[in-house]
Amino acid sequence: MIELTHVPIDYHALTESVRSSQSGAVVLFLGTVREMTEGRRTVALDYEGYPQMAETKLAELEAQARSKWPIDRVGIIHRLGRLELGDISVAIAVSCPHRKQAFDAGQFLIDELKGSVPIWKQENWDDGTTEWVHPV
């Protein structure tokens, strides 16, 4: 299941959707809005996406991950719009027969998502300025 949403992510439902008695391991990753970045204080992040292409790229990532690991089920939800401190921007859940597969697949999916899925975020610093985030 791949989804872009403007409402809070229900990661509990996402995790339930990947559980299965065929799998011994589930890994869930949550990206959340962190207050401090290199000494500067964030008050909110604005996420903008290119929805059709983002969904296409996420489906490609799922296919790549499935070619590398024996994934049972996988779900990815990315939120768009204004997010406050602590809010969940992205949730990735994956189930596999064994734990190392699930950890590796989960880490691959979030690393690749950050590198190739057309979504952008803008910092809203506590001094009132805004700044588009450049990838590291």
Binding site: Y50, T56, K114, P118, I119, W120, W132, H134
Partner: protein
Amino acid sequence: MLQIKLFAKAREVVGRSVAEIPWLDGQTVLQLKQVLAEKYPGLQPMISRLLVAVNNDYAADDAAIKTGDEVACFPPVSGG
């Protein structure tokens, strides 16, 4: 004419989410970037980092674009 969706800082500096420019089939991604930067000087500082997607996939500078393609232009992604 070719319609180009713009996102993030590219959308912001251009001031609109869709740009429209005259187009000859066969012109390339690199030519698109040059035409855009000429028409919208705000894009010039970021032109070397601009990405172009054609039909929902990243396109290299030498890829040809034809009218009717779905084209988008944006800075490096920073989601997650």
